[in-house]
């Protein structure tokens, strides 16, 4: 187990390093600089700015300086927000994004699990078809469309919830639903199909033969077995939630990291872009690590094979 953990951690570090290096290079060769503006700055000013941000040094030294900073938790200065460093900006905005992401993940699991179970239990019935049609719609509905629809319907027409704020529990409802919709639909459909497949297995027949009620056969025996494919998609799902958060934070004007990322991209604020990219990658690597460990819990055979 420890061996596995160590191996995964090393792999995670490798991914982080690759991403950091590629992003660093990519942003250096990207056309257009952070100090390009409508009015051309005098060359002395540009030289001073470049000296201040060490952009006049050779590339390898900039790279080493950056990596060294990252190792110490310093993601460098922001080109746009002169009074704050990238680490500070991320520290302020990351909690918001994490709350939104975790709520959405929770929502997805809590809704998809019963929906998938119901659909599998009453397979090919009206309930099943309703659940799966909703899921099919949910997978195809872009989250900015859903977000706009919810704002228009629930907030503007019905006036039930307020938008454009992020201070109490009621302001998280619509963003959470918007972010969670596609993952929920995807999870429910996946759970249904694996459950139905599992129902044909021998151990399920045994459970039935010993007289267990169908609902228990599914809930105890089949469900546990079907969790493995569900776990497999949890990593990509975490990625989808991260990506979705750019859009949802934009639509609902939530002061999270995703919104800062988008403005950083329009401003070409390279250190901020790199910092956010690294934090996203770290989150993902962490999520995948947890998934790997959960694998071991759900199916002990995996550890032995490794």
């Amino acid at each position: 187990m420890l061996h596995l953990l160590l191996k995964r951690c090393l792999h995670g570090l490798l991914v982080l390093w690759v991403v950091a290096t590629l992003t660093f290079l990519l942003l250096r060769i990207a056309p257009g600089g952070p100090f390009d503006s409508e009015r051309k700055l005098p060359p002395e000013v540009i030289a001073n700015l470049e000296a201040k941000y060490h952009l006049d040094e050779p590339l390898w030294r900039q790279y080493l300086r950056y990596l060294g900073g990252v190792a110490h938790g310093d993601l460098g200065p922001s080109y746009k927000y002169l009074d704050r460093g990238v680490t500070e900006i991320i520290a302020e905005t990351l909690p918001t994004s994490l709350v939104l992401g975790s709520l959405a993940m929770l929502f997805a699991v809590l809704v998809a699990l019963p929906a998938g179970l119901l659909a599998a239990y009453f397979r090919n019935s009206l309930i099943d078809r309703c659940c799966m049609s909703v899921a099919a719609l949910g997978i195809s509905l872009p989250n900015f469309v859903l977000g706009a629809l919810l704002i228009w319907g629930v907030a503007l027409q019905l006036g039930w919830l307020q938008i454009g704020r992020w201070d109490d529990w009621s302001s998280v409802i619509l963003p959470t639903i918007t972010l969670a919709a596609a993952p929920t639909a995807f999870l429910a459909a996946l759970l249904r199909s694996t459950l139905i497949e599992t129902m044909g297995e021998d151990f399920v027949r045994t459970a039935r033969a010993k007289g267990l009620k169908e609902i228990w056969v599914i809930a105890k025996h089949a469900l546990l077995h079907s969790l493995i494919p569900v776990l497999t998609v949890m990593g990509p799902l975490a990625a989808a939630l991260l990506t979705g958060s750019f859009v949802v934070e934009y639509v609902f004007a939530i002061p999270g990291m995703g919104r800062f990322f988008i403005t950083a991209v329009t401003d070409r604020d390279y250190p901020l872009i790199m910092g956010v990219t690294l934090v996203y990658t770290t989150l993902l690597v962490g999520a995948n690590l947890i998934v790997d460990l959960l694998y071991g819990l759900v199916d002990p055979r995996i550890i032995r094979v490794e």
């Binding site: 990519l26 719609l137 872009p142 706009a148 990625a239 750019f246 934009y250 991209v265 993902l284």
Partner: protein
Amino acid sequence: MNSGQKTFDSVIALSAVFVALVFVVACLAPWIAPYGLGGMESQQMLQTPSPSHWMGTDGLGRDLLTRILYGARVSLAVGLGTALISLLLGTTYGLLAGFKGGNWDHLLMRVVDIFYGLPDMLIFILLSLLFGRNIGGLLVALGLVGWVRFARIARGQVLQTKELLFVESARALGASRGRILLWHILPNIVGPVIVTLTFSIPSAILAESTLSFIGIGINDPYSSWGTSWGTLAQDGYRAMRSYPHMIAFPAAAIFLTILSFNTLGNGLRDLLDPKQK
């Protein structure tokens, strides 16, 4: 055939019709659009749907129906272009990995794993900084993300196929490796690759419209091609409080197009690979 199957089939048929409609609209936009693409009428600003403007007009007095019809070209071009780039890159890569096997396979797939784990949108955004915010740059960025799916599918299929008897007999008859790859393995992986292709079109359309919606997609407001549905939705989103029609129509166009492609993909998968059903 039960009634559920029949409904399913008619839903697929409907999706196919809609996809065909989008194709026709994209090709014929200049001839079927009621107004010119650049046409603005300052007296006709922000009109709600009416007989002369079926979908109303926007803040500059441009006919929304016209803009949506032209927008189909952007969506389709991005969808098809991305799918083709990903197909060529990914299938070649996956074929090589699966066919070479061993350490090569291990190394090549490790790269795929790293790409696969990262959020697509993050990679698009980073790459779009490099390639610029025009349709060509976007195609390259989307293609560089999309190839991973094809690589995985192609490799998996090759690994399965190359152990089959007909490949072994071809080898025994002295066929060269290239011949085996092209004549015996490639035709057998076409089915799953086509299914992946069908699914990669709507995901490219989704990605493009999302990027345009958050304002970092194609940045070419006076394109003779038309404006992305995502940009139209963003315009509409800003005016949503007073003029909901401005977001309703572009959003519906995006949703229905993606839904139709996805449904069609599901239908194709059931048709080409009955095992997965």
